[in-house]
């Protein structure tokens, strides 16, 4: 989901994904990404375009598809439902009143048409 989210921000080169995720303490190895990306691609959630690399063969930049966006939206919704449910449960246990947390992931709105 996170990967999808990162790609959702725009054309992405896999190492960039790693960098972004490092920032959020979700540490993964690069090798993990490729099978994941290929699977997403095979499911039609992402696509890729070729861009000229610095000094080598063209690089694969991944982009999100409409379907991917829909799935991402669905995932985000259910994730937030889950998070709030968990937070509420924890709050009840601790006896503190539940406060709605700020939105963790700020999703861009869906593009108007696709």
């Amino acid at each position: 989901m996170c990967v999808l989210a990162v790609i959702g921000e725009g054309e992405t080169y896999p190492p960039q994904i790693i960098k972004k995720l490092e920032g959020t303490q979700l540490v993964v190895k690069e090798g993990t990404l490729y099978p994941l990306l290929i699977r997403l691609k095979n499911d039609g959630l992402v696509g890729y375009i070729w861009r000229e690399g610095k000094n080598g063969p063209p690089r694969k930049y991944f982009t999100i598809t409409g379907e991917g966006r829909a799935v991402l939206q669905g995932l985000t919704d259910s994730w937030q439902d889950l998070v709030s449910a968990v937070a509420r449960t924890l709050a009840q246990e601790n006896g503190t009143p539940y406060e709605k947390p700020p939105q963790a992931l700020n999703m861009e709105p869906l593009p108007p048409s696709e």
Partner: protein, 722 residues
Amino acid sequence: MNKILNINLGGFALTIDDDAFEYLSSYLESIRRRFRESDGRDEIIKDIETRLGELITDNMGNRTIVMLPDVQAAVEIMGKPEDFGGEPVETRRKQSNQSQSSSGIRTGKRLFRDDEDKVAAGVCSGLSAYFGIQDPVWMRLIFVLLTFLSAGFWIPAYLLLWILVPPAKSAADRLAMRGEPVNVDNIAREIEEGFDRFGNTVSTMTDDFKKKSSSTGGRLTNVLGSILTVIGQIFGFFIRFLAKFGMLILIIIGIAMLIGLASSWIAGLWALMVAAPLISFFSPFSSGFNWFTFLVVFLFLGIPLVGVILVFSKVLFKTKPPYWVSTSLVATWVFSVIAGFGLLSFGVKGFASRSDVDKNIDLSGLNSDTLRVNGIGDGDLNYQFDGDDWWHDETKYMRNGKLAVPGEIDILVRRSNDNRFRIVQTISARGSSDENAAQNAVNVDFDATLQGNTLNIPVYYSLDKGAKWRNQKIKLVVEMPVGKSIVFDEHIYSRAKADYDDYANNNSDYISQSPGKVFTMTKEGLVCTACPQWGDRNFSEDHTYEDFILDGDFKTEIRQGDQFEYKIEGNDSIQVIRTGDQVTFTTGGRNVSPNTRVIIHTPVFTKLMADNTGEVTIRGFDEGRSSISARGKSKIKGFFDCNQLEVMLSGPCKLELVGSGNNLEATLSNGAELDALNWRVDHVEVFATENATARVYSKNSYKKRSDSSSSVKIDGPGEVVE
């Protein structure tokens, strides 16, 4: 110093160091294996390769050659297959994975020595790693045990492994060394997976075929398609079975190889011990160089053996013997070949000349017309090398440091010009010169001595220590006056012979085939006075005999067979004389027990003469022309067919015939009886006199003539002609 290679890694042209390359390819191989069952495998790998290439290139800076640390750094970023989450791989491997160390990358297994964990050279720990045993202590224990059990063989085996197996130098080596544990299951699985892929291709192909055939609507082809699928599955199963089995066989070969090496080592040592005392007799050198000869032979035969083992271990365990090992092996072998040739030519020189030494054997004590010749010494030594015993019982060949040489004695019997027995003994020998050859002949220790009327001849000669074997041969020429006899006993007869011309005409017995038989010199030549024919009881021959004479009271059966052979049953002996196409079986006038029976097989039967013999049966022939004659009390039954059969019976004998033919001609006399009612023939002629009786059958015509005392009865529609 390391080799470098140029590779294309996902579109990046890289110049890479050998170590780094090994590491990289094993890494990629492990990834390939990790994603074996993923859908977009090729794409994943391609992406990873490209990224790796990029990482490495970025990291290189100004350097041109990719080194191991560069690859390691890139792999560090990319992560090892274990770190990859995502799709689960085979659960099987995970189960067996309890204690996989950090090594991670599973690669083609190679045997290395573990320099970092060693007692002597790290062979055991390397083997432990290879076979996936955690603690090398066990392997060491096994080696120590084997060393004791194999009487030291494992020490050179260890040394050999030390030489053959390279140490794990680089990180890649260490990874390859630790690779996945090798066992039958793993290897078989590898192959199985390979064939699964193959099987998938086959089934895809058959599916395509099915689609095509169903689109054309051919039902038959559809059926054909399913048959193909079934065949494909059976084939796949078979191949899988073979793969499992094959790996097992490979491993067994490996083990057998080690055992072979062990046994040849032991055999070599043992031969060294056993053959040591023998060498001096054969070696061309007088003393110390004998060991050199042995060494040369040992190397000449041993090095190719080691070479074969090297090749095997290269194929099986991917070992690479260091360059100097193969070079020095080849060099040593070439040396042994050259030295061998040198020795050979030197040895051949030792056989260049020949000398004979003659001596008369003293027969002055002989006081008989018959000379008995006995072979003395071990009966086994008589004629040939007794394969098994040769090495086991060295005392047989080495007696008190002497070499015993069997089978080099020949005896020739010929006619003497005067009236005395005379024996001349000739010892011939080879040598480097005439004098040397004569000396070698004189060195032979051989004594034929007369004791009473018996001449004792050793069946072997011996050579003293220090003497050389130079193809010494002994020949005894026995001159025999007319009227005297000679007997060779069972130990020596096979060494004796006479020229063909010295035998009497019609003689078919030879001294070399007749142990213990008396041969007498006559004016016509040598004859065996009381010889049954050779092959007394059972005999067969390609020669065709068709004329049979039976003489004496025994039972006989004559049957059709592919080849002439006969068998005599019962304890009494029957003499068999074969001349031309005639065979005579005779009791020689003696009485034999009633259970004596002769069984003859013969392809052709044309003539039988039965003289006062027991019951004779003739079976199964289909002849053009035959004759049966009988005398005395003979009783004959014939079950066969014959176009022209002639019968002559005389005396109280009886012939019963069952079969058919064109003509039957019978002459009967003196109480003879012919019963041929079941012998269906066109034309019959019977001539009966003196109390003879005949009953015959005729289809067309008959002639008969008989006196008043005889009776002839003719059956059937035949009419009289006369």
